[in-house]
């Protein structure tokens, strides 16, 4: 194949345009890629996005500050708690709110569980795209346990909305240590299972090694972040470089590779899962006692009991429910390390009880830009492996 591609084409050959998506089994959602093919070789690839545009950014402007939280769930529906966290951190920065340690540690633990959730879906779909069907269902077995844990905490499997401005929505449920502890005790052996099926598999190596290479400079130019850039050799992780939510109190490594191909990205993400397990273990072992919400009566809803018995609490409750709290005018750019890369919320407040503007710098969008240079000159089958290694969620791209 490669020999014929290198030879000068006869005069009469024409390229073929192939429309991949928006309804295609491997574009995960509604990405549309217009491929220009010479035989099976991709000459040109034009990604087209916007099929899942939800208008969430605009909708944020008509909601009160607290009401925006459920909207952030829907942006990246595979890593909702990370989105929750980024938004509430931004608003808390504007409010200059002090969050109690228990809430902070709980947030760390749950966002790391979210990272596992997101990486599991990525691994499963990536593997099924390359043809290994069973890995998909093994990943979803563990994801099911994770969703049960999320449901235990928040009452919802996917759209959790568990983090609130000022802390958590509820205190951790009874027995959460057992559920999380059991999960992370078994999880490393499950990762070994996936690796058994894939890491040493000659067909898997042939499909991923050297495929989708992209030089580091190009990635930096395009604003690619997360596991993609770590697989190119840069140990850039916002959890380390700008610790938020007391990430500086946790010990973990930032896995890197230098090959910058699909296999390197696969290895980085697998190792990240192992590191996340360590963080969750530390969070569980050292979980502080104390309140789960900040001591800020104008922002945090009062306890039910207090609201029924104390005049002041009743007034605050009424104000928060009817009008919402006000946020001092100003703007903030809050970035966190999302499973897919750097997620940032740029929040502008004009001093009212509703955001003036909420802009999301989403990792999927930044990473998807890298698709075009990655695909050109490669085979159709590689496009599937490359798209999988980008790990994008279309909701996150279009918001």
């Amino acid at each position: 194949m490669s020999d014929t591609a290198a030879a000068p084409p006869p005069a009469a050959t024409r390229t073929m345009t192939l429309n991949m998506g928006p309804q295609h089994p491997s574009t995960h959602g509604v990405l549309r890629v217009v491929l220009e093919l010479d035989g099976e070789t991709i000459v040109n690839a034009e990604p087209e996005i916007g099929y899942l545009h939800t208008g969430i950014e605009k909708e944020c402007e008509v909601k009160t500050w607290q009401q925006v939280v459920p909207l952030t769930d829907r942006v990246d529906y595979l890593a909702n708690l990370s989105n929750n966290l980024c938004y509430v951190l931004g608003v808390e920065k504007l409010l200059a709110l002090e969050i109690p340690p228990r809430a902070q540690w709980m947030r760390v633990m749950l966002t790391e569980l979210t990272r596992l959730n997101s990486h599991l879906v990525w691994l499963g779909t990536h593997a099924i795209d390359i043809g290994a069907m069973s890995v998909f269902l093994y990943c979803f077995r563990e994801r099911e346990d994770l969703l049960r844990i999320f449901e235990m905490f928040s009452g919802q499997r996917m759209m959790t909305s568990y983090f609130r401005v000022g802390g958590l929505a509820l205190d951790a449920p009874r027995g959460w240590q057992n559920a999380v502890g059991k999960f992370i005790k078994e999880f490393p052996s499950k990762i070994d299972q996936y690796e058994n099926l894939l890491t040493g598999n000659p067909i898997w190596l042939k499909r991923t090694k050297g495929v989708g290479y992209m030089p580091l400079e190009d990635m930096l130019d395009l604003g690619v972040t997360g596991p993609m850039i770590r697989a190119a050799g840069v140990p850039w992780d916002i959890r380390k470089s700008e610790p938020y939510s007391s990430y500086d109190k946790f010990q973990f490594k930032v896995p890197t590779r230098t090959e910058s191909d699909v296999f390197a990205r696969y290895q980085v993400r697998i190792e990240e899962m192992r590191e996340s397990v360590k963080i969750i273990q530390q969070a569980m072992d050292g979980m502080p006692e104390g309140p789960f919400q900040a001591d800020a009566p104008k922002i945090v809803l009062p306890e039910r009991e207090k609201m029924k018995t104390q005049m002041e609490a009743l007034i605050y409750h009424f104000k928060i429910v009817t009008e919402g709290f006000r946020v001092p005018a100003g703007e903030v750019y809050q970035a966190i390390e999302h499973p897919r890369g750097e997620l940032a919320y740029y929040i502008v407040s004009d001093g009212t009880s509703k955001p003036y503007r909420v802009h999301m710098r989403t990792p999927s969008f930044g990473n998807l830009i890298a698709m075009k240079p990655m695909l050109e000159g490669r085979l159709i089958a590689d496009s599937i492996a490359c798209l999988g290694s980008l790990d994008f969620v279309l909701g996150d791209v279009d918001r």
């Binding site: 491997s26 099976e40 099924i128 043809g131 290994a132 069973s134 159709i380």
Partner: protein
């Protein structure tokens, strides 16, 4: 007895058995894959989903039979017919058992015993690429076209190593008739080791068997060589534009090809219907023992049901298995059923291998697949053929 009447009866029997096997092979595949993947598989239609094939057939027949406006109608309609006809034809030369005597009539358990049976099979499987290539071309769809092109290139490339892998046991047995090939594998070394081609002196054909199976996976477009219909790349490949029974025809062709090629592997390498160890060591009692045990297990689980409905279904299975166990113990039926049992269980094991691999391995890339065929499989099978020829020439006298 009248030759035509006898042939008609045999054709009817084989067709009925083959069609049932086709339908249930799909059920088995879904069940096995489901259990590999921690699912339960079909379980709604009938006990343990056993009527699922029937439901599928009804569904496929009653679906709207769509012919898109942009297709080349003649070739579009011809492709599925060609695919399924060729796939079903090849079963006619496969022998299932030795000569038997039913109500005083002597006959072979085979539709037709050609003295060039192997060549006919190869010729038919060579033609079967037309069905897929035409489907891809006539559909006038880019995904289908790519799938059709991939399929043609792949099947032609893998035909060579497949044919060479078949050639070496032929050298060993010195015949092209499938019946004689099986007969040449009768007997045992040291009284217990079967003289199957994979063990047979002077050149055990175990490598030829492996090469053949790799080629077989590619010939039948199964994972890891299922590129023509690689769902994640080409949507549905060559049958993207087909619906209803035309789609089912391709499906049937794929499964019929699988059955034929596994039967061929059994005949060429695994000694056909000969038991793996001699009758003196009790191979005649194996089926009775297996079905008896299955009956006992089914009965045990029926008495301790995991689900309420198991209380009724499992005892029925137990009775069926027990009936089979008794049937195998009756001397008159024994001589007919035993060869069929060994033939079916060997073929069934190979079919299980196909399904097992599907649940485990990822898929090759198109260029890697071609390189694998031409740069690795083809030279190895040539060398193997020469080695076999040399050894046979040196030792056969």
């Amino acid at each position: 007895m009248n030759f035509f009447l006898l042939s008609l009866i045999k054709v009817g029997l084989v067709a009925a058995v083959l069609m049932t096997t086709l339908a249930y092979l799909q059920w088995v595949e879904r069940k096995v894959i489901a259990h590999i993947q921690l699912r339960v598989g079909p379980s709604r239609v009938g006990p343990h989903g056993l009527l699922q094939p029937l439901a599928d057939v009804i569904k496929l027949i009653t679906k709207e039979d769509l012919i898109p406006a942009h297709v080349n109608k003649f070739f579009y309609l011809m492709a599925p017919i060609l695919a399924v006809a060729l796939a079903l034809t090849s079963i006619s030369v496969i022998p299932f058992g030795p000569q038997i005597n039913v109500f005083g009539v002597e006959t072979y358990m085979q539709l037709t015993d050609l003295n060039i049976g192997v060549l006919v099979l190869l010729a038919i499987s060579g033609l079967s690429v037309y069905g897929i290539a035409l489907a891809g071309w006539a559909s006038n769809n880019k995904y289908a076209l790519l799938g059709g092109l991939r399929a043609s290139a792949q099947m032609i490339s893998y035909e060579l190593p497949l044919a060479l892998a078949i050639a070496s046991p032929l050298l060993l047995h010195n015949s092209l008739s499938l019946r004689e090939i099986v007969n040449a594998q009768d007997g045992y070394y040291f009284g217990f080791l079967a003289r199957w081609a994979i063990f047979q002196m002077p050149m055990p054909q175990i490598f030829a068997f492996i090469l053949f199976m790799i080629g077989a996976f590619a010939e039948t477009n199964r994972i890891p060589f299922d590129l023509p219909e690689a769902e994640n790349e080409l949507v549905a490949g060559f049958h993207t534009e087909y619906s209803s029974m035309k789609f089912a025809a391709f499906f049937m062709a794929e499964y019929a090809n699988m059955i034929t090629i596994c039967a061929l592997a059994t005949i060429l390498f695994l000694g056909g219907w000969h038991p793996p160890f001699p009758v003196e060591l009790g191979s005649g009692y194996v089926p009775s023992a297996i079905f008896g045990m299955a009956a006992a297990i089914a009965l045990f689980h029926g008495l301790n049901p995991a689900r309420p409905k198991d209380r009724f279904t499992l005892p029925v299975f137990a009775i069926a298995f027990f009936g089979l166990a008794i049937a195998f113990a009756i001397p008159v039926l024994n001589s007919i059923l035993l060869p069929l049992f060994w033939f079916a269980s060997k073929t069934g094991f190979l079919l299980f291998l196909f399904i097992w691999v599907r649940g485990t391995l990822p898929r090759f890339r198109y260029d890697q697949l071609m390189r694998f065929a031409w740069a690795w499989l083809f030279p190895v099978s040539v060398v193997h053929l020469f080695a076999t020829g040399l050894l046979v020439a040196l030792y056969s006298n």
